[in-house]
């Protein structure tokens, strides 16, 4: 690099830094305690991607309290609304990552900060909602990239526990939860050998798979029985001895009644086919597939079974002989077959990359429009919250963001984020460190 270039780079960065400081209007230290603002906001002159009602050019979005109160191109803006001029900018519904462990894990390698894996095989009664840490440093890092709400779920054992749907803003799990119990996470017992460490013979693998399935089926039929028994008792307790309380069985009741879905993590083709057949045994229950990396191989079967899929794109192909594009194409191929797909990164600290998972899906067959749905409204529908989330519509919860361009493009930026009507300070550890160290100014030694 030539000297003049270095000076220019330095000047540019200094200017940017000054602008940033001006923009936030206070020192980095002060921002740690900066509060979100809630009230009345009017986002004006924006290109509004409503997702459910097309794109509104030169549009306005009114936010009052926690809700979106009006959306359109010809909106009367009452005087008391704080106006945010979004000329040349775009408004999108907040992005929804439908499968994470955000809030449950802080630092992967530090065991005491890991709350996503409880001991035991059948834990329908453990709840992610209980252990969400609202102060997780990962949360602000995620939301400033436009991801405003996520499914966070336990991961270990056969029935890992209840997933929760949370907004990425709040001071307690209660204040964050959209659906405290959003689903029950099931790790499908794979019929495929683990890896090199798995020294079981093919026969042993098959036998264990059968046994695992039997345990699962037994557990569910016990739960069905328990639910029926309890319902009978609740309907008419007269002359009946009160059954003992069973927390696990109690937790299964909303599942066997189909009130919340079972989220089944499954990847291998044969396992997916088994899952499809298995779900037919439980017509009253709801099911969602997650992972589904071989999904493109059996997309028609999944579509026919009407099972929605939570998918990502940024992983290496499942099999050495797979075409290099398969992970990127999987959402597109599933969608083309008629499967409803939603983006789920499976991540923690980098859930902020959810838009890029969608971007790759868009680029490799899903298309931008469907990719946008996959990261907004589809997941809201799958988890039964499309009346609250997933689009920019009157009456919905104000989870949305303003971007200076297509948010799937990393070269663009998110400038404002609203979560449940709260205008979120655009602050995170990453931004604070940037502000502090871009032009550090201390002596070198």
């Amino acid at each position: 690099m030539k000297d003049t270039e270095i000076i220019m780079t330095y000047l540019k960065s200094t200017i940017i830094a000054c602008l940033l400081v001006l923009f936030w209007g206070m020192s980095a230290e002060a921002q740690i305690t900066q509060k979100a603002k809630i009230g009345k906001f009017a986002i004006t002159n924006a290109t509004v991607h409503t997702v459910t009602n097309g794109v509104i050019e030169n549009g306005t979005v009114l936010i009052r309290g926690e809700k979106i109160v009006e959306v359109g191109s010809d909106v009367n803006i009452p005087a008391e609304y704080e106006q945010i001029d979004a000329s040349g900018k775009y408004v999108y519904p907040g992005f929804f990552d439908a499968g994470t462990q955000l809030g449950l894990q802080e630092i992967g390698a530090v065991a005491v900060t890991n709350d996503q894996a409880e001991l035991g095989d059948f834990n329908p009664h453990v709840r992610a909602f209980t252990a969400i840490n609202p102060s997780s440093v990962n949360i602000p890092v995620t939301r400033v990239n436009g991801v405003t709400h996520v499914i966070s779920m336990p991961v270990s054992g056969r029935l890992a526990g209840k997933a929760t749907l949370i907004d990425l803003y709040g001071y307690s799990p209660d204040s964050m939860a959209v659906s405290p119990n959003a689903g029950l996470h099931l790790n499908w017992p794979t019929s495929k050998k683990g890896g090199w460490w798995d020294d079981r013979s093919d026969e042993e693998v098959a036998k264990e798979y059968k046994e695992d399935l039997k345990k699962l089926n037994d557990f569910i039929s016990r739960a069905q029985f328990y639910d029926k028994m309890m319902t009978d008792f609740e309907n008419n307790p007269n002359n009946k001895q009160q059954p003992d309380m069973d927390e696990k069985m109690q937790a299964m009741r909303e599942v066997v009644k189909g009130e919340i879905p079972v989220i089944i993590s499954v990847d291998a083709k044969n396992d997916i086919l088994d899952v499809i057949e298995w779900t037919e045994n439980y017509p009253d229950m709801q099911f969602v597939l997650a992972g589904v990396r071989d999904g493109w191989r059996v997309a028609d079967e999944i579509a026919e079974a009407g099972l929605p899929c939570l998918v990502s794109t940024l992983y290496t192909p499942e099999r050495d002989y797979d075409n290099y594009q398969r992970p990127y194409q999987n959402p597109g191929k599933l969608h083309a077959a008629g499967v409803k797909v939603a983006i789920a990164t499976g991540g923690v600290e980098n859930v902020r990359n959810a838009p890029y998972h969608a971007g790759f899906a868009a680029s490799y067959g899903l298309g931008k429009k469907e990719a946008l749905k996959a990261i907004t409204i589809n997941a809201a529908e799958i988890f039964g919250v499309s009346d609250k989330l997933g689009s920019i519509e009157e009456g919905k919860q104000a989870n949305l963001f303003i971007a200076d361009g297509d948010p799937f493009e990393p070269m663009n930026h998110i400038t404002d984020v609203f979560i449940r009507g709260n205008k979120i300070p655009m602050v995170s550890r990453h931004i604070q460190l940037y502000q502090q160290y871009l032009d550090r100014g201390a002596k070198t030694n």
Binding site: E106, E318, D320, Y321, E349, E409, P410, Y434, L438
Partner: protein, 466 residues
């Protein structure tokens, strides 16, 4: 008929013989991202016999040279990944805190499907690194992704030797916590390095004295024979580092350990070095700049362990703004598939210019590997390592169309097929082979510390650490 089949087979399996064949191609009317001289629209690029021989307008193809139309397309230098573990057999000789004697040159797996997948992301060269279990790990090897060629043909001829150092949690966890062998702390890490440099200086003197005495004895100018000092494979490499023949690439995260190593290197006169990962390099950017140190970082990885908790995805932008030569690497079989996308995050986090972001995956890593005279830009005289993209490479919607190494095409999206494996296990049927080689063989995965994390015990696999 049988013979014919044999002949075909022999041909199929002896790609080695053709491997280093260099190619010629004329790429016409593309937008050239030269890196060296900005972007040039509607410009032709001629590669002859592996080298870029002409850049300009209206170049006509020499006889027999294929012409590729790149109008509306972008042509950029092949991406260089300064930190990779694909194409390796073993990654970590994790049994000793210092293993300078081992070399990834001897751990190349040319049949790794990840090589093809990386080519499909426009990557042409990688720095195949030893793992990070040891304070002074093994030597690394710079490769060109000549997929289909033999182990030795994969090597980037003329690339300088490099070696892996590692600071912080990995070596202290593996050796200190795992084996009760120093170092268990960052204090110990420093002393392991100093002790070994000192030992290598002593060794060099003693060995030379022995060789001189031996010569003198044989010449008759010395009456008593000397006591032999055996050549020491490990200390020889450390001597080479002190003599500046080996570039040091150090796995590091925290600012304190980065400044520690710069102090040590200043004491021993070591000059050419790169900090790998360096999640906290942003804190000491002025010091790095002052020492002429390079950095090679993740675009956004953090929080997977304690020493990367205090991180920022703005690291690359801060380093760049402070004049530190920085690259963005993958350290992963996944990220290497879209390093262009990783580079674009430097624009997202901190508004690094597009040109500078592209330098972080081309000329900057080339400089860090000492191959910037040969690759990393589109300039006459450089190697014909280029990729053609259907849009601007920093856009998430852009795809690699063709990838050339030495002017020879190794990836073509139009001709891409299923199952690009080079090596097949005859005994595995379709479903049996439905895993990944790494999982099946368990020697390592595409990332840094797997070889050290997973330990065998009599009772099977044991995860070290968490």
């Amino acid at each position: 008929m049988k013979k014919l089949f044999l002949l075909i087979l022999t041909f199929c399996f002896s790609l080695t013989g053709f491997a280093q064949e260099k190619g010629s191609v004329l790429i016409k009317d593309g937008t050239l991202i030269t890196i060296a001289n900005g972007n040039m629209s509607n410009t032709d690029l001629l590669i002859e016999d592996g080298l870029i021989t002409e850049i300009g307008e209206d170049i006509s193809a020499p006889r027999g040279v294929e012409t590729v139309d790149a109008s509306g397309k972008y042509v950029m230098p092949g991406i260089i990944d300064a930190h990779s573990h694909i194409a390796g057999v073993d990654i970590n000789e994790w049994t000793n805190p210092v293993t300078a004697e081992v070399s990834m040159e001897e751990s190349i797996n040319p049949n790794d499907i990840n090589i093809y997948w990386a080519l499909a992301g426009g990557v042409t060269s990688i720095h195949l690194m030893h793992g990070s279990a040891n304070v002074i790990g093994g030597q690394n090897e710079t490769l060109k992704l000549r997929y289909g060629s033999g182990m030795n043909e994969m090597r980037f001829e003329g690339a300088p030797r490099t070696i892996k150092f590692a600071l912080g949690e990995n070596p202290t966890r593996v050796h200190g916590q795992g084996f009760d062998v120093q170092p268990r702390t960052r204090m110990g890490v420093e002393q392991v390095i100093r002790d070994h440099f000192d030992a290598s200086i002593d060794y060099q003197r003693n060995r030379q004295e022995y060789l001189d005495a031996k010569q003198a004895y044989e010449d008759g100018t010395r009456s008593t024979p000397p006591v032999p000092v055996a050549k020491n494979e490990r200390l020889e490499v450390l001597v080479d580092i002190l003599e500046g023949e080996v570039l040091v690439h150090t796995h590091s995260y925290r600012a304190d350990e980065i400044t520690m190593l710069m102090r040590v290197f200043n004491d021993y006169g070591i000059e050419d070095y790169t900090f790998q990962h360096a999640n906290e390099a942003f804190k000491v950017a002025p010091e790095l700049k002052k020492n002429g140190a390079y950095t090679s970082v993740f675009a956004d990885w953090w929080a997977y362990k304690f020493e990367v908790y205090y991180s920022t995805a703005y690291n690359a932008s801060i380093l760049n703004a402070n004049g530190v030569k920085n690259s963005i690497n993958s350290d992963s079989g996944e990220l290497i598939r879209h390093l262009n996308h990783e580079a674009s995050k430097a624009v997202h986090y901190g508004n690094t210019s597009k040109q500078d972001a592209l330098k972080m995956i081309t000329i900057n890593p080339a400089a860090q590997l000492g191959i910037d005279e040969k690759v990393g830009t589109l300039e006459v005289g450089k190697h014909g390592d280029v990729a053609i993209w259907d849009g601007h490479p920093l856009s998430i919607y852009s795809k690699t169309l063709k990838t050339y190494v030495d002017g020879k095409k190794y990836f073509d999206r139009a001709e891409d097929a299923d199952d690009m494996r080079l090596k097949v296990d005859a005994e595995q049927d379709f479903e049996e082979a439905s895993g990944r080689w790494y999982n099946e063989n368990g020697r390592h995965s595409e990332t840094c510390l797997r070889g050290a994390e997973i330990r065998f015990s009599k009772n099977g696999m044991k995860l070290q650490g968490n």
